[in-house]
Every structure is written in C-alpha cells, then in structure tokens.
C-alpha cells in the first residue's frame, strides 16, 4: 500500500515536471511571435493520435476524390451469378446481394459519406458561428432573439426532427444525387446550429470583455471590423473543435438516417445506404454489412480523435 501522501504528491510533481520539460523543449524561432495557433500546431505535431488520425483522413479524402485509383471495378455492375459470394482473392470484400463488388462500393461510397459529413459540419458551423458572434457581441435584444430562436430548434429532439423533415422530403420524391445530399445536409444543419451558436456566443461574450476589444471601440472601430478582425480569430478555437467532432457525429447521423430508410439513396450510395441494404442478410452474408460498418466506425473514430487532439492542443488549461 503506497503512502497516499507521496503518491498524490508524486502525481502532482510528475505532472509539473512534464510541463516544465515541455516548455523548455519548445524551440522558439528568434523574433517569431508565439500565438495560440502556432503553439497548438507544435503540440499537435507531436501527438501520435493526431498524426494517425490526420493520415487516415487524408487517405479517405483521396479515396473520395479519386476512387478510380483504388479500384478498377465498376461499383454499379450487377451480376446475379456472384450474389452474396464471400470475400476471396478476386474480391477482397466479397459481393453483395446483387452481385456488386463490395470493395468497389465502399470505395465509391467514401465520397458521399464524407461529403455529407463535411458539408453538414461546415454549414452548421457557418450558421452557428454567424449568429453566435452577433448574439455575443451585440447582446441585448439581438442576443435575446437569437438565443430564443436557438432554444426553439434546440428543444426539438434531433432524431425526431430529422425523421420528420426527411420523410417529407422522401415523399416529395427528390431525385438525383446532389438534391438528395443537399436535403440531408440541410436538415442536419438546421437542427444542429444552436449548439455551434451557443459555443460561439459564450466565446464572444468572454472575448468582448478583453482589453483589446475595448481599445478598438475607444478608437472608434466599426462593429464589423471589431467582429471580423478581433473577435473572430480568437473565438474560432472552440467552434473549430466542435466542428471537427461534429463531423464525425454527422457521418454517424447520416448512416442512421439511411438505415431508417430516409437518408441517402441511389445514386448517392453512402456506407449508411450499404448497411441499410445489407440488414436482412446479416445472418447469411455478414460481409455485406461488416465492411461498410467497419469503415464507417473507423471514419467517425478518426474525426473524433482529431477533434480530441485539437481540443487538447488548443485548451489553455491543459498547458
């Protein structure tokens, strides 16, 4: 039984030592200003989680943009003779019910999955950040109005709201890849922006109190200039972290919607759509489900890891 005093004290000292060493290790180029961002970058560069996550993400992006580099098989080609054939040397992930190559489908599906995640995340952050900064900076009735509207959307249970919106869209029989993707992306963004707004708002409220903002106002700077030049860069960090993690979450949301049958569908075949198609055959041809589900989990994982790493790097409390 270790002595609790020394153990606890030891913990504190060890951590203190870590920090001291880290600070000493940071090489500073002479004369170069050290900002939050460059510090964060230096920190990130050294984290294995960040490196792995970024590498995988870059790989996924390449697969999304250039799927033909990774497979020469046409993902749409059906051949019932190959229905449900399990993985083999010719087809690493086997074939699905219609005799399509699962590996090729997964590769081409990357594009749609990532597109939904990225677009939804970007849109949510843009809307949320815009309203959040306005609410935070102007305060008063502007803040009251925006916060109330945010609460209205926030009060709507997310999955429910998404199902209602998307089933109406489905009834309208929207066709074509981009309209379908836009519908899904918009419904996610419409339901998620309050969170981004709140984060941005609290950051803006805190930043507003800073001296440099007061100085800028005293100098007679217009609100727009203050917002974009002074507030925005300093409030970006928490929203960025949220955006990265949200990206992963939204990819999962899209898959859930497709599983329920109201998300994407042909011709925008994402991994969620593949999982949905495979659900009745799990017992006889599990490879149809496992590979897209595996890729899905992996993708969400790396985005969440990335967001985690970025948050730890940017959080001044952990420095």
């Amino acid at each position: 039984m270790t002595d609790p005093n020394t153990a606890a004290a030891g913990t504190v000292t060890t951590e203190g030592a870590t920090y001291v060493t880290a600070a000493e290790h940071q090489q500073v180029a002479p004369g170069k200003p050290r900002s939050l961002w460059s510090d964060a970058w230096r920190d990130l560069r050294r984290r294995p989680l960040f490196i792995i996550a970024s590498a995988v993400i870059i790989l996924l992006v390449i697969i999304a943009i250039f799927p033909s580099w990774f497979t020469s098989v046409d993902p749409k080609h059906k051949d019932l003779d190959f229905s449900r054939v399990p993985p083999s040397g010719d087809a690493w992930f086997g074939y699905d019910l219609q005799g399509r190559d699962v590996y090729a489908r997964v590769v081409y599906g990357t594009r749609w999955t990532l597109l939904v995640g990225v677009a939804a995340s970007v849109l949510t952050v843009l809307i949320g950040a815009f309203f959040g900064i306005l609410a935070g900076y102007f305060g008063g009735w502007v803040d009251g109005l925006i916060s109330r509207i945010g609460e209205i959307f926030f009060g709507l249970p997310f999955v429910l709201g998404a199902i209602v919106i998307l089933s109406q869209v489905r009834n309208a029989q929207v066709g074509g890849a981009f309209p379908i993707v836009s519908a899904v992306v918009s419904s996610i963004a419409v339901l998620s922006w309050p969170v981004a707004m709140r984060i941005m708002r609290s950051a803006a409220v805190a930043a507003k109190q800073q001296d440099y903002v007061k100085a800028a106002r005293a100098l007679g700077a217009r609100p727009a200039r203050i917002i974009f030049r002074h507030l925005l860069p300093n409030c970006l960090a928490p929203v960025l972290v949220y955006g990265t993690i949200a990206l992963g979450a939204f990819i999962g949301v899209e898959a859930t919607m497709s599983f329920l049958g109201i998300g994407l569908h042909d011709p925008a075949v994402s991994w969620g759509v593949m999982i949905s198609d495979a659900r009745n055959y799990v017992r006889v041809a599990p490879h149809m489900l496992l590979f897209p589900a595996g890729f899905l989990t992996l993708t969400v994982l790396v985005f969440v890891m990335l967001g985690d790493a970025v948050r730890e790097a940017l959080d001044p409390k952990l420095r």
Binding site: N5, I152, G155, N171, L260
Partner: protein, 308 residues
C-alpha cells in the same frame, strides 16, 4: 431563487410555442396528401377526404389550425388518430416504457461511465487510461443502430443467447440490453467527462490542503474530489434522461419496445400527424422542465452559484 424560477418559466413559454409550432408546420403544412395509406392501395373517395379534412381542420390556414390544436391541448385533449383513438391514451401507455428504458440506460451509463472515469482520472496517464480513452472513442464512433442491430442479430437470432425482442410489458430485466445499447454513446461521454473533471479538480488547492492535513485517501477522494467533480456529470446525466426519451427511436425500433420513440416513428411513417405533434409536445415539455430542474439543482450542489 424564486424570481429566477419565475423568469425561467416565463422564458419557457415562447420556446414551447416556437418549438411546437415548428413541428406542427412541418407535419401538417407541407404539401402532399395526408391521407395516403388510409384507404389501402386505392385513393380515398372524395366524401371521405372531405369529412376527414373537416375533422382535422385542414382547410384552415396553418396558424388557425395550430391555435385550435393548442386550445384543445390546454384542456388535455391531444386529439385523435385517424382510427379515432385518443392520442393522449396512446402516449400515456408508451411514455412509462420509454421512461423505464431511459432510466435503465442512464443507470448503466452512470455506473460504468463514472467508475471508468474515476479510475482513469485518478491514475493519470497509463495503460488503463489509454484503454478507456480508446474504447470510449470507439463507442462514440460506433453508431447506435449498428451496435443494437448486430447484438440483436448475433446474440438473439444466431446464437440464441438472448431473446431478440422485448415483450409488451417491457420488464426491467428485458430492458438491460437495449438500455446498454442506448446508453453506450452517452457512457463514453460520461466517462470522459468524469475523467476530465476529476483530473482538473485533482490539482485544486483544497485537495492539496486536505492532503497536507493528513486526511485518508478514501476521504479525500470520496468526500472532496467526487462531490466537486460530480456537478458536470450529474448535469449531463440529468439532461440525458430527457434526451434519451426522445432519442431512443432507433433502439426502440430494433428491439420492438412500445415506447414513445416507436410510437412517433410509426406515426411519421403512417402519416398520423396528431401522434407526431402530440409526442413532440410531450418531449419538449420534458426537455424544458428537466433543463430547469438541472439548473436549479446546480445551485444546490455548488454553493458558489447563486441565482438572483
């Protein structure tokens, strides 16, 4: 405190109206035939359409419809489904089941999540810490429906270890597996939240004081550390009960649980607008009330917080 509560309650009203109006519009004001599917494969005869339109006020503009609906709501009348069953009854049957499921989920996520969080928060970096970190990341990444679906198929159908569905009585014991699935995502958040909270508070001044005073470890951790670290965790767990009631649609569907999630999902698919709006109204009320209660409890737990 009283004034604060009053102010919050007053703020609730516009939000309540806004959210319910939003969902009302989404359900009823969207173009399309609301009676598809009621008449089997053929289109409904015009007299039928006329009678139903009259009954559900569909000829009025949407604001009037909404006001009529809310008026009825205030007297406790949630309206009727197309088969003339009172929606209030349906909700009254389904809500307790969902509540039980949410409670089970929160209990599981609290027990496992907090324990994991405490262990790793106290220990700091190490094998266990990394293990928990990675597994929580994994749980966050795995979509709920994949977890639930695979568990049901593999354990329920293929290996026949569990009964794949929940009976209509939804006994507590049957809800453990669905509760686990439902809470798996939140479990990850709870453990990380606990871990962070403990890690932060571990370095606080009062901890060093307690240590210097020679307090036994279990007292330091149990009395000082936990109580102060608990606040964000309890906040999260409290709001989670509300969230899980509304967000259990997928889990309830997979395991055949007759809760509000399944009720509203079926309502959306069958285009029974009254069910959808009724359930959402209930969920919004739950959400707003729970949030208020959590905020109040916050003040109780943390004496530094004062509401005027």
């Amino acid at each position: 405190m009283g004034r604060y509560v009053l102010r919050r309650l007053l703020q609730l009203v516009p939000v309540f109206i806004g959210t319910t109006f939003l969902i009302f519009v989404l359900v009823w004001a969207v173009p399309g035939d609301p009676f598809t599917g009621l008449c089997g494969d053929r289109p409904c005869p015009p007299q039928f359409v006329a009678a139903m339109t009259e009954k559900y006020n569909l000829n009025d503009n949407v604001i009037v419809q909404y006001l009529k609906y809310m008026g009825a709501l205030l007297t406790g009348d949630f309206g009727q489904t197309y088969s003339e069953q009172p929606v209030g009854e349906l909700i009254a049957l389904a809500a307790p089941v969902s509540l039980r499921l949410a409670v089970v989920a929160v209990a599981i996520e609290a027990i496992i999540g907090v324990t994991a969080g405490i262990l790793t928060g106290l220990r700091g970096r190490g094998f266990l810490d990394n293990l928990v970190l990675v597994s929580t990341l994994f749980l966050i990444a795995l979509p709920t429906f994949v977890t639930g679906f695979v568990i049901q198929i593999v354990l329920g159908f293929q290996w026949e270890i569990l009964t794949p569905t929940v009976s209509s009585e939804a006994r507590w014991s049957e809800l453990i597996i669905p509760g686990f699935v439902l809470g798996s995502l939140s479990m990850a958040y709870v453990s990380r939240l606990t871990r962070t909270s403990i890690a932060e508070n571990k370095r606080a001044d009062y901890m060093r004081t307690a240590l210097a005073k020679g307090q036994p470890k279990h007292r330091i951790v149990g009395v000082h550390l936990l109580r102060n670290s608990a606040i964000p965790v309890i906040t999260f767990l409290g709001t989670d009960i509300g969230n899980l009631m509304g967000g259990a649609i997928v889990t309830e569907g997979i395991f055949g649980i007759h809760g509000v999630g399944k009720l509203v999902y079926d309502g959306i698919i069958d285009k029974q607008g009254t069910i959808v709006v009724g359930v959402v109204v209930l969920l919004v009320i739950v959400f707003l009330v729970v949030n208020l209660l959590i905020d109040l409890m916050y003040a109780v737990l943390d004496p530094r917080i004062r509401y005027d």
